[in-house]
């Protein structure tokens, strides 16, 4: 019987002469790494809990609606209302997860290694930012697709419903980009200026927690009815006067409603959907020229975005 024989050779160091992708390859691989980090892929179970939980919370309402629509065959959920309800959840998700993409790199000194590779500071920020935006957008759009399917099933004729409401599809895509760009940029900009993830998350949440009631207090309409008392036939009779409503900021309330920073993207979303069931805040914003809420939204996205870029552009490594 012949015996198999073999030898092991140490080939030593081999130079690499295969393909090199350059800058685009570098950006793409950083984007993939960021996407995986956002959803917790390649990490322990703990890193997956929040993305999974948040996705479930965002998707659960339209999923339940879809099931009910399929079974009962009635009901309607507005695309604008879905964004109104989920934008705050997305913001919470972003406040906690987005810092994960920037802070560990700076704290561990890995940013230096990225910036000596074929990447600019802009490439680095853009790859991190766009990967998170993609995850947030996928979650919201999936929810909107469920809403659309639910509404179709609840309609008498699903095909007719879709033919009549197809315009909602580009609308919810556009509004989705507007909302996710907002919820991605602000937490990332905050994360660029702190070494602690908890601080970044707490700051973002605090900003939204504080500005919402502050705006509400300044813009809520307070109504009161005057009461007069008269004595008739020896008895005191109470007479209610006309109800008078006013806001403590008066005519300026429509401006103070913009203080609610978390609502900035939903004002634009309402415009996109031409929402015909506006709430009190939306009614006030509608009194302003449309350019005002758009400019306010732009400022809240472009301002922090510029700060984020500047921070990395000027980083001393």
């Amino acid at each position: 019987m012949s015996q198999a024989q073999g030898e092991i050779y140490d080939l030593g160091y081999q130079h690499y002469d295969g393909p090199r992708g350059g800058r685009m390859q570098a950006v793409r691989s950083l984007w993939v790494n960021s996407f995986r980090t956002t959803v917790g892929l390649g990490r322990g179970a703990r890193a997956k809990i929040l993305p999974v939980l948040m996705s479930l919370v965002v998707i659960a309402p339209p999923a339940v609606f879809l099931v009910l629509a399929a079974v009962v065959g009635s009901g309607k959920l507005s695309h604008a209302d879905f964004y109104e309800a989920t934008s705050i959840l997305l913001l919470l998700f972003a406040a906690i997860i987005a810092p994960e993409l920037l802070i560990p790199d700076r704290r561990n000194g890995v940013t230096t290694l990225y910036l000596v590779r074929p990447l600019t500071a802009f490439d680095y920020v853009a790859a991190r930012w766009s990967a998170f935006l993609t995850v947030a957008l996928l979650v919201t759009l999936f929810g909107q697709v469920l809403v659309l399917i639910g509404n179709s099933l609840a309609a008498e004729q699903a095909r007719e419903f879709l033919q009549e409401n197809w315009i909602d599809i580009p609308r919810f895509i556009l509004a989705g980009v507007i909302i996710t760009a907002f919820v991605t940029t602000i937490p990332m900009a905050v994360a660029a200026f702190t070494e602690r993830r908890a601080y970044a998350a707490a700051f973002v949440i605090a900003v939204f927690v504080i500005t919402t009631p502050m705006s509400g207090l300044l813009t809520t309409e307070w109504c009161e009815r005057s009461v007069t008392f008269a004595v008739e036939s020896g008895e005191i009779v109470e007479e209610a006067g006309p109800e008078e409503c006013r806001r403590i900021t008066g005519d300026y309330a429509k401006w103070f409603v913009l203080l609610d920073v978390g609502r900035a993207p939903t004002h634009i979303s309402d415009m996109v959907f031409e929402d015909d069931t506006p709430d009190d805040a939306s009614i006030l914003v509608a009194e302003l020229p449309p350019a005002v809420p758009i400019a306010w939204y732009g400022l809240l996205v472009i301002g922090p975005g510029a700060l984020l870029l500047w921070r990395y552009w000027s980083m001393k490594i």
Partner: protein, 306 residues
Amino acid sequence: MSGPTVSQPLLEAHSLTKHYGQTIALHDVDMHVREGITGLLGPNGAGKSTAMKLFLGLLQPTAGSATVLGEKPYENIAIRMRLGYMPEHDCLPDFMTASEFLSHMAQVSGIPAKHARTRAADMLRHVGLDEERYRHIKEYSTGMKQRVKLAQALVHDPVMVLLDEPTAGLDPGGREEMLQLVRRTGKDFGINIMLSSHLMGDVETTCDRIIVIEGGAIIEEGAVSEFTQETETFYIDVDDRREEVIAALEARGIKTRISGGSVVVRLHRDEQLDDIRDALAEVQARLRRLAPSRGELSDIFRRSTG
């Protein structure tokens, strides 16, 4: 991008100057780094790291110019694909395995995913971390982390790698292992290296050429052999009257210092050996040893930097 020729230095600096506000980090530096292993020797704050960052294109010179492989490096993406860098500070994500990290770094350097995994495995084998490559970096010792730092600098097969204090934080055993790896990288792998260190021993035992930097200026440069030949250090051991011997030598213009109980002198002329003989005879000291020392970089460094 054309590769460097023998006559073309890999790194060049002409009147290179870098200021941080009022602080002068580098001043009017001229430097030519050719193939092989070059040591950048200087104390902390001498400007070594600043010089490296200028060559890496991370900083813009205040004045003068730096070129790498014949091109200006500042924000030059093409140059970065051909350079490797091992920073002095921590730069590893502790939540990743070494294998994942190196593969990712290879991809971020422009190497496609399939090849990147192979390169990562190869590099970890070369730095002696083959068995531990699937462990999280947070579980690594300082020495192992330094090896991962070296591996990430080499994973995209650069023309030249810049190592900033590669032995920082290592114990003597780890330091020697790291220096062996650096030597192997330069000699066996054929990768050009610039190594910065404040430790004379690191550059003396590893490098072909040395550039001594102090206070942001180049003090001396040349081959290691030139540095060591230049030094004419003698050790003088006497049984008694050491202080009188020192006084007699100093009176003859020979500067002395004490090292390990020996009187150490540096001679600049052969006739000064006669002066030593005369000084010993004058004080009638009993000579036990008069031995030339192999030149040491520490001597050169001390002389150069005053």
